[in-house]
Symmetry: C2
């Protein structure tokens, strides 16, 4: 099957074609890479579909899988198609914090309108980022209405997910005491919507208190031009009891609609495209240093520098000359 046929099948909604295409973009083989680029170009020519891309971050224990399952089922109930992707740079090493198998979202994975794909197995976050970004484009072309991109928030993975999402959602569990959880300020500043999960049973009161705390904290942050009145917002949900999920989706839609009307939606996607272009150029430039002859030369020069035979500056100049750059 050539690239163009594969593209047609994806646009027609063939799930196996989609899965195969994602495997293609995840491959690091050079010929696969070329095919992947050609495929995405072909899809860009065939369709201009846009999904709502929702970035979702939450540490283990907040009930992320349960939330995605319940939230996904609710969206399906509204006639929407949902794809779930993951960014988990740790997946190559430990099997990952996000489980690769589909057992954790059993109901959702059995649905025709849902597509679940674990994080690509790459230890390098840059690699995971590009592959996920391309998988998002494939899912959009395949006609999914909502693409959920989840992360556990290891290192920079939240930034990576926020930079490929239209809205960024932070899922939290009720705090034990009456204090804010150790959410990094940078993450708070990225969030469009904070969902305090587990607002059920014994934890309900605690969830409400936590929600109020975060609502207060969000009000202290500087107002961003891309936010309508009242955003960023914190609300309670219960993934277990499927409570508050429609409200969460309504809030997301309201935010997306406002941003579409005001041009912020397109501006954000344009800014993200610039960002990824810049990242790709930088990563590729630095990747030159990791391959065959260049790697050997780097090692030899590093040895000379460590022995004191050369200064770092002179050795660096020699390396750059050998690359033919700078």
């Amino acid at each position: 099957m050539d690239t163009d046929q594969l593209a047609d099948r994806i646009v027609a909604g063939d799930r196996r074609a989609l899965a195969r295409a994602i495997t293609l973009v995840e491959s690091s083989r050079a010929d696969h890479r070329d095919q992947a680029v050609a495929l995405i170009e072909a899809l860009r020519a065939k369709t201009a579909r846009q999904a709502v891309r929702i970035g979702l971050s939450g540490t283990p224990g907040v009930g992320k899988s349960t939330f995605i399952e319940s939230f996904g089922m609710m969206l399906l109930g509204q006639g929407l198609r949902v794809a779930v992707l993951a960014v988990d740079p740790s997946s190559a090493r430990s099997g990952g914090s996000i489980l690769g198998d589909k057992t954790r979202m059993e109901r959702l994975s059995r649905e025709q309108g849902a597509f679940i794909r674990p994080s690509p197995s790459q230890s390098h976050l840059g690699g995971v980022a590009r592959r996920t970004r391309e998988a998002v484009a494939l899912c959009e072309a395949a006609g999914f209405d909502v693409v959920l991109i989840e992360t556990v928030g290891v290192g920079q993975s939240e930034t990576v997910v926020a930079e490929m999402s239209d809205i960024f959602v932070l899922l939290l569990a009720p705090a034990g005491g009456d204090e804010l959880q150790g959410v990094k300020r940078g993450i708070m500043e990225m969030a469009d919507l904070i969902l305090v999960n587990k607002a059920d049973g014994d934890l309900k009161a605690s969830a409400v208190r936590t929600q109020a705390d975060y609502a207060g904290a969000l009000r202290l942050l500087r107002k961003r031009p891309q936010d309508p009145e009242g955003f960023p917002k914190a609300i309670c949900v219960s993934a277990l009891q499927e409570d508050g999920l429609e409200r969460a989706w309504d809030e997301m839609r309201a935010l997306v609609d406002w941003r579409r009307d005001t041009g912020h939606f397109d501006a954000r996607r344009a800014g993200q495209a610039r960002y990824w272009f810049d990242q790709e150029v930088r990563q590729a430039l630095l990747a030159q240093l990791e391959t065959g002859a260049a790697r050997a030369r780097m090692d030899a020069l590093a040895e000379a520098v460590a022995d004191g035979r050369m200064t770092p500056t002179v050795a660096a100049q020699e390396m750059l000359d050998s690359l033919g750059g700078a």
Copy 2:
């Protein structure tokens, strides 16, 4: 005066020649850059002097200037020559957190055996790092026994200073309560010696308590192979009353002697040389993107990507092709 003459004068201890050489390494003019590289090469051929390079970090208010002045005077009293350099990436913008003038170390700056140089005015930390590293080499060639490299610890500047020091010293003030100050864990892990300053007058008891707290915290850190028994260590000093300064120097010397005997001293310098080589290559590769034609091309491609005319991946490939790299 040619490079070789300048090198001879530096080795002979001519302070004006040293100041002039540092101005040369701080310049970003291409011809100055070439002269600076040639000068450092010439000095490497002429002398193999090694100073003890002490990195010193402390936030504003801990009494860093007073400490450097008292500590420097004490070293002069022992017949040692002392150079003081600074790494302050904020100096280009605001005039810097570290004052550029010599008024803050009045006594020391009047001494023949001391040399004080403010941070180079570069807003880019990479630029400050290289220039300071080269200034350290110049001060060593000029026969200084101790080179103090101070930083206020803005962003990554502590890492930069630690990567050019033989020992890294953290200067702290007595804590208000009975809790540790908000010292980042990463900084604690870099420190070889913590000095709790202001152990005098009303603050003495508080300083002793703070010192005990940090001593306890340091014991909880994983033992590093480059540390003899008892290190890293926390002790009290009073820069104002010139108390504990000899002890601090004795501890530093004991640490340096042990590391020399065990090979850790040379291994650290070798590792640092590798690190700076790697950094210089990477920075130079990325700097290609900032110059004339490449910058214009980056901007044009970013525009095409933002408009949706190209994907980031295809645009990045085009950029790399135009650089002739990858």
